[in-house]
Symmetry: C2
Subunit: 308 residues, 2 copies
């Protein structure tokens, strides 16, 4: 646990729309940072909200997002991307003049497109994406240290209010994150490689195991510690969130998938033709990439992640 830099209250009142694992982590991190005066938790599910209430994660709880954002100078959308249009349409009329609206969605071009025309004049929208999360759904699995030492990317456009970008940079920094700005399309391309393709492949290989006969499937699970285990964590991630990611970053994901297929064919061919030299050379190169990840200190698990 890194001690969080203390400082003044940066926002009087924050509303968090979508209160699953990530929304609850944002709430916890904001509380810990003492950068926000008070919090409203909002989720369409009354059950989720009542669980959040039991955990005492906010000052107010509202199922209706339009009510939730009233009086908020900060609104953080933490729901699946397929819900964004409806949420922005609903909160538009009740947003406070001067409020900053941001989000945590994994794909940013589509978010910029959805926000276009849906943010009322006088309200500032800044698309954002923290590179952190865990495969467990629900507010009880959030963690105040989830963003500690992780990157939090902002993808402002040419017309985005600079003051809003700077205030969010300070805010998420107070929550422990390393905040960086990035061009929206470059974000979607890099994330297709670092996050979307790995999840797609993990879902696929776990699906392959699911198709085996039940006796073999049981043994695959029992002996999963040999490597398969690492994939099941990713493949245990929220189905709705990931469906939305793939549908909304289609081009970049399909391009990375194409490149991946070519590399896999190379290895497949080497195995078929007993070409040990090609395999060994390939494996030596990938070891260098691992070294880079360890050196960049991005090899540590998230707090609260399932042992991985």
């Amino acid at each position: 646990m890194t001690p969080v830099e203390q400082g003044p209250v940066l926002f009087e009142h924050a509303a968090i729309i979508g209160f699953g694992n990530l929304g609850s982590s944002v709430a916890r991190a904001l509380r810990k940072s003492a950068a926000v005066g008070s919090l409203t938790a909002s989720d369409l599910s009354a059950d989720v909200l009542s669980r959040a209430k039991t955990l005492d994660l906010a000052e107010r709880y509202e199922t209706d997002p339009a009510t939730a954002v009233q009086g908020a100078d900060l609104v953080v959308i933490c729901s699946p991307i397929s819900s964004y249009a409806a949420i922005l349409d609903a909160i538009g009329p009740t947003l406070t003049e001067g409020a900053i609206v941001t989000d945590i969605g994994s794909v940013k071009r589509v978010v910029a497109d959805i926000a276009e025309g849906r943010i009322p004049e006088g309200v500032r929208f800044v698309p954002g994406h923290p590179i952190a999360g865990s495969e467990k759904s629900g507010p009880e699995f959030g963690h105040e240290d989830l963003f500690d030492g992780r990157y939090w990317i902002l993808t402002p456009g040419e017309t985005t209010d600079r003051d809003a970008v700077e205030r969010l940079t300070v805010l998420w920094g107070r929550c422990g994150a390393i905040v960086e700005e990035m061009a929206v399309d470059y974000h979607d391309k890099v994330l297709a490689m670092t996050s979307h393709l790995p999840h797609l492949i993990a879902y696929s290989i776990v699906g392959t195991a699911f198709d085996l006969q039940s006796s073999e499937q049981r043994d695959v699970i029992r002996f999963s510690a040999g490597g398969f285990r690492d994939f099941t964590r990713l493949a245990g991630s929220d189905p709705i969130m990931w469906r939305d990611v793939f549908l909304n970053n289609k081009e970049a994901v399909l391009e990375m998938l194409q490149r991946f297929g070519e590399d896999l064919s190379l290895l497949q061919r080497a195995i078929r033709w007993d070409d040990g030299d090609t395999l060994e050379k390939f494996f030596r190169e990938t070891r260098e990439v691992r070294r880079g990840v360890v050196e960049a200190k991005q090899d540590k698990p998230y707090p609260g992640a399932d042992g991985d």
Copy 2:
């Protein structure tokens, strides 16, 4: 750390041939179990042996395997599979009558074939495979608790000495492992799915990242915490060991790769045609598999693993 059951010394003297991460872990676990009187560490690399000596992991150190096995009633081969034939040929003449020889190789049909005709009369050979390991090479990265709660598979054939199988079952149990017997071809098939295919895919996807322009590659590493990180751990594994695994379990790996390719094509097609229902259904099923892994308690990291 599970307390290890104490008991009598089961073997007077053990020789461990190949003293990398896994060989050193076997030595450490045997020491902790107090089931072996004394240990000889053997490795073709004088450098590896001198590092093992600095760590005081054995009573004797020998680069020559034929010398190392003299007087040993237990020999554990912990080197890559491509070295097995030469090692067995070398130690054949110096093995002690009644000794038990076993190994830790990830593929078992080929090991049985190599051992055939190379084990002298009066010596008992039992192929084995602990489902545990880490991506870091070298004796300094071994861990005495590596086998704690992990499966250790033995694949005896019809002519394998039953007394030897039972003694190894007790021995590895004393090292914390859950020891199970399995038919050799079934082992190779299940492991192709749980370990070999995941490693191949991890190597492949990390290779795809390696091919990107260097600026993008740097960002892929920096933002690896979104999922890519989980693959780099596997892709950082020993190149020689894994080259040998793929060359020696070719048919099973190619079959699983074929099935994986079919599943991946299904997902690829669903993305291309905006078929969210297929994606969501697929992702819900894989979540069940993750639940199975967590329930089987195989979701915890290895001691000494790089934060994963």
